[in-house]
């Protein structure tokens, strides 16, 4: 029982067009639940979830961003500091897929250079309404050298897997260090700062 806690804090970010299901993906992962009513995220929301990977307890702080275009200049400022970014599109919405390259450019411009990226084609339970073939998603992911999953927050397909894979990829790059005073405030839910901290 005297297991040592080697905790790390990973900050993840969900981005993508409005309505592709970013909030649902997060809600499924954090609360294992699904809500069918669509409430557009107007702002920045986050939740935490502790996972165990390779014997280490890792706290994931997952930021959910507003997808609406008019907020893009603001939301991109939250990219900095994210260690992993999940770029979500909707397999039933061609436009959301076409915008992928724009989102990827945004990541290039605004996120940390070593950020781990991942592409998710959400709503894969809605096969009858599919307009983006899985192969196209795989292709664009391959071109950019990032991982790809088709997910469904509603049917709970690949959600946990996607998050754990992303966290594992980050962990692989994280130098193993003893816990020190730097990550003490993890437990308090602190360290929650967007770009605000930069300007103060």
């Amino acid at each position: 029982m005297a297991k040592k806690t080697y905790d790390l804090l990973f900050k993840l970010l969900l981005i993508g067009d409005s309505g592709v299901g970013k909030t649902c993906v997060l809600f499924r992962f954090s609360d294992d639940a699904f809500n069918t009513t669509f409430i557009s995220t107007i702002g920045i929301d986050f939740k935490i979830k502790t996972v165990e990977l390779q014997g280490k307890k890792i706290k994931l702080q997952i930021w959910d961003t507003a997808g609406q275009e008019r907020f893009h200049t603001i939301t991109t400022s939250y990219y900095r500091g994210a260690m992993g970014i999940m770029l979500v599109y909707d397999i039933t919405n061609a436009k959301s897929f076409e915008n992928i390259s724009k989102w990827l450019r945004n990541i290039d411009e605004h996120a940390n250079e070593d950020v781990e990226r991942m592409l998710l084609g959400n709503k894969c339970d809605m096969e009858d309404k599919r307009v983006v073939p899985k192969a196209k998603g795989e292709q664009i992911a391959r071109e950019h050298g990032i991982r790809f999953f088709e997910t469904s927050a509603k049917a709970n397909i690949n959600i946990e897997k996607a998050f754990l894979t992303l966290a594992e990829d980050i962990l692989r790059k994280t130098p193993v260090k003893e816990p020190n005073s730097e990550n003490v405030d993890i437990s308090s839910g602190g360290g929650v700062t967007g770009w605000k901290s930069k300007c103060c």
Binding site: M1, A2, T5, S30, D31, I42, G43, I44, D45, F46, K47, I48, K49, T50, K57, A66, R70, F71, T73, I74, S77, K177, E178, P179, N180, S181, V184, S187, S188, G189, G190, V192, G194, W195, K196, C199
Partner: protein, 831 residues
């Protein structure tokens, strides 16, 4: 391996570790010799290391690597809090930035035997190893400086609460033995005592008292007997199983050994040992107790070996000593932030030792008769310990098995005969074994008369102990559940609010029209601090035409707050909104401290107004501004100011018609108005005048307001001009020639045509007003003061004008107002 004394010496702000070689049982300074000094300086590290091939049991001897400069040293320190204290002190001194107290302990071997040296007495060091095999110093420091962690503590407590759900009881056999050896060395096999049972026990707890009666042992707590008895016990363990030593702890003559079957060693953790002396001064170690605590699977066990005060009448002292041991024996926990553990805080306590309680019956002959008759029950009724326990004075909750063996003291060594020396000590059950714990049952309790070395007989007890064994799968499940609920708690404690409105539309906003939209913030269950924060690359949280009231604040759980977004377009923002360069669009970021961010969208449309419009643009606008195409307004507003009439097809008006309408109205109606320009108009009157100017095609100002309102509108109009009548670039020249009318006239002549016209027109009007100063109470000074500040304005970036500068601007205007004769611009007035 060689034995060394280590001392931490601090002198003149410098610290060092001194190593001494020493004679066996060093007593005086001559017995020790300074061997080497390790300075605590830059690069000094103390790292805990794990020696190879060592049984991985937490709480066993601590091996540390000390590095100072080129010197490297591997030292094995004994168990217990004294070592921890020593290391803590050393680490405190090698961490930089620690304020050092001046502690003038000289580097003197004699000194070293006192103070710190006493706390960290004999350590054996081995050959240095290469540094590359060792973990980094960062790791070692991490171990000692780990801060308390609430989350961990919570998980631990909940896991303990849920223990039943993931553990089951499994029986283990514990052998507990106690033997007062009267200072003797082992001479006979201990097997008759330790391995009489057919079945090999799982755990051995073996205690000795009076291991060494020498004064060396007493003063220096060092004795060769420790090794001798340790070997004898190891040899005497049950041959039916292999055992690993978990821990050895000794205080002078009180020795306690803990062994476990090798294959079970991995289930032992968190081993700690402590000693409590209750001898002379209540501290010395000739009497007292030693304890070992550990966790076996999920059950915590504490074993105590005590040697209490002798003499029949001293039972109250013995009681006191038991209480002292219970109070003072405190074990450190692996996590330094956790509280110290007492004996009481364990699931199972096994207490053994020479407790020295006698029989109340002191008539030796009568006792011996009862012994001969094997009437142990009658004797036991007279046992002091039993009496004290029954009276609940000590050992509450402890139990002792039935005694069916004859007293274990006092025999003639080498025999089974009672000692009949002159002291004539009545036989007594000095040596006892007690237990506390729900899952303990005693299988046997006996003395071992076959051992004849000592004046005591050894005693043993076998226990069947129910140990909580963890089911890994069910533990994982319980653990998962706890982590999930902790996450849930944490997510629930993220501040969160609901906003009654997040989109704000301000329709048809007009110049200087104050518009307010309200919304409420309803706080969730977490108290929160909110604030509108700046967006990236912006210095303010919103555009200059907007303000949030309040812009920051604190909300109690469940409380509501009414918020206002106030919009006002004034002279500084109007021009860009007229031209369409600026838009009534903004996104505000409402940030909750340690919580979410909310975006508030503000949008609206602005109705262009002559207020904030350049003179030149207005001169080209033949129609009211609102009747003009937005594209034209934009182009005219952005058109560079030209000295000559621009090459536009249409000839511009001499002066803006809006200005003419206001001035003409005043000229016709207000020349005799009392206190003109000195009384404000009413707000709605201004609104009407503005709307009239912006929309009406008629070139007269229908009397929509009082003369005061029109006068005020005129001033506001002049104030709103993005380029003042005296252009910014001429501001300096204007001040420089404020004392010369001639030169001032030249400055005016340098103004663009439309500005010249406006200036002359206004001067003509003001001079006209001065004719009626008897009625309207105006004089040149008043007018120069009012209009000086409006017509002559410093460019942006200019320091705020001081009194002298303001006076010059007024002087400039004053000259024109005082001129006699022909007035250019009068023509315009008469039109």
């Amino acid at each position: 391996m060689e034995s060394r004394l280590l001392s931490l010496v601090e002198s003149h702000g410098k610290s060092m570790i001194c190593l001494y070689t020493h004679r066996r049982m060093a007593i005086t300074a001559e017995d020790v010799c300074l061997d080497r000094i390790l300075l605590i300086q830059d690069g000094f590290t103390v790292e805990e290391v794990t020696p190879e091939n060592d049984l991985q049991i937490l709480g066993s001897d601590v091996t540390v690597q000390i590095t100072s400069g080129d010197a490297e040293l591997l030292v094995r320190l004994p168990f217990g809090s004294q070592t921890q204290m020593f290391l803590q002190e050393v680490r405190r001194r090698c961490s930089p930035g620690v304020a050092r107290s001046e502690d003038a302990t000289a580097v003197d071997p004699e000194q070293s035997t006192s103070g710190e040296a006493k706390t960290a007495s004999t350590y054996r060091d081995q050959k240095p190893k290469t540094a590359s095999e060792m973990p980094t110093s960062e790791q070692a420091q991490g171990l000692s400086t780990r801060p308390p962690w609430l989350r961990d503590t919570l998980i631990q407590s909940w896991l303990t609460q849920k223990e039943d759900s993931y553990t089951h009881l499994q029986s283990f056999r514990f052998f507990v033995g106690t033997y007062n050896v009267n200072g003797q060395s082992p001479q006979e096999s201990l097997q008759p005592w330790l391995s009489q049972d057919k079945e090999p026990p799982d755990v051995y707890c073996v205690g000795f008292q009076e291991l060494d009666l020498s004064k060396e042992a007493f003063f220096f707590n060092d004795t060769p007997k420790e090794e001798e008895w340790f070997k004898a016990v190891t040899k005497g363990l049950h041959p039916g199983a292999k055992y690993a030593k978990v821990k050895l702890v000794r205080l002078v003559g009180i020795l306690l050994l803990l062994y476990v079957r090798t294959e079970l060693a991995m289930n032992i953790s968190e081993v700690e040992a402590e000693t409590v002396g209750t001898g002379i001064m209540g501290r010395m170690g000739n009497k007292g107790g030693v304890g070992i605590r550990f966790q076996f699977h999920n059950t915590t066990v504490c074993v105590v070996n005590a040697h209490l005060a002798a003499h029949a009448e001293e039972y109250e002292r013995r009681n006191q000593e038991v209480q002292d041991i219970c109070a003072r024996m405190q074990f450190h926990q692996l996590e330094p932030s956790r509280p110290l553990l007492t004996i009481d805080g364990h699931d199972i306590v096994l207490w053994l030792g020479d407790l020295n309680y006698q029989l109340e019956e002191q008539d030796t002959e009568r006792v011996k008769k009862l012994i001969q008759a094997q009437d142990f029950q009658a004797l036991y009724r007279r046992d002091q310990l039993k009496i004290q326990m029954d009276a609940k004075v000590i050992f509450q909750d402890f139990r002792e098995g039935e005694i069916s063996f004859q007293p274990t003291y006092k025999y003639i060594p080498g025999s089974d005969d009672w000692d009949d020396s002159e002291k004539c000590h009545a036989p007594a059950w000095c040596d006892r074994i007690l237990w506390r714990g729900k899952t303990v049952s005693q299988l046997s309790y006996q003395s071992h008369t076959a051992l004849k070395n000592s004046d005591h007989k050894p005693v043993s007890a076998l226990f069947d102990v129910g140990i909580k064994v963890m089911d890994e799968k069910r533990y994982r499940k319980a653990f998962e559940e706890i982590v999930r609920s902790l996450d849930k708690m944490e997510n629930a404690s993220i501040p969160s609010v609901t906003l009654s409105k997040r989109e704000f539309l301000f329709k048809d906003v007009k110049y200087l029209q104050r518009r307010v939209e309200t919304f409420t913030i309803c706080n969730g269950p977490v108290p929160c601090q909110f604030e509108f924060i700046n967006k990236p690359d912006e210095d303010t949280y919103c555009k200059p035409w907007l303000i949030a009231k309040p812009s920051k604040g604190f909300l109690l759980p469940g409380s509501e707050l009414m918020m206002e977004l106030e919009l006002l377009v004034n002279k500084s923002t109007a021009t860009a909104l007229n031209s369409g360069e600026g838009k009534l669009e903004d996104i505000l970021v409402l940030h909750l401290d340690r919580g979410k961010d909310y975006f508030l969208s503000v949008s609206g449309n602005y109705l262009p107004s002559c207020f904030g419009c350049p003179i030149q643009a207005l001169c080209y606008m033949k129609e009211p501004i609102r009747e003009t195409l937005p594209k034209a307004v934009r182009e005219l507003t952005l058109m560079p100011l030209s000295t000559e009439d621009a090459f536009l097809e249409e000839k511009p008006l001499d002066i803006p018609k809006e200005l003419w309408m206001m001035v003409n109205h005043l000229y016709r109606n207000a020349c005799q108005q009392e206190d003109l320009f000195q009384q404000p108009g009413l707000r709605p009157e201004f609104d009407q005048i503005r709307d009239w100017l912006d929309t009406e095609t008629l070139d007269v100002l229908v009397p929509v307001g009082s003369n005061h309102a029109v006068a005020e509108a005129l001033l506001l109009f002049l104030e709103s001009l993005p380029e003042p009548v005296i252009c910014y670039k001429l501001y300096k020249s204007c001040l420089e020639c404020a004392n010369s009318y001639e030169m001032s006239s030249q400055v005016v002549a340098m103004l663009p045509k439309c500005h010249q016209n406006v200036f002359r027109y206004l001067v003509a009007f003001l001079r006209e007003l001065l004719k009626y100063s008897g009625k309207n109470h105006l004089d040149v000074n008043i007018l120069a003061t009012i209009f000086g500040g409006l017509l002559v304005r410093p460019p942006s970036g200019h320091t705020k004008p001081g009194t002298a500068e303001k006076q010059k601007a007024q002087q400039f205007i004053l000259q024109f107002l005082c001129q006699q004769g022909d007035v250019p611009g009068y023509r315009l007035l008469q039109r």
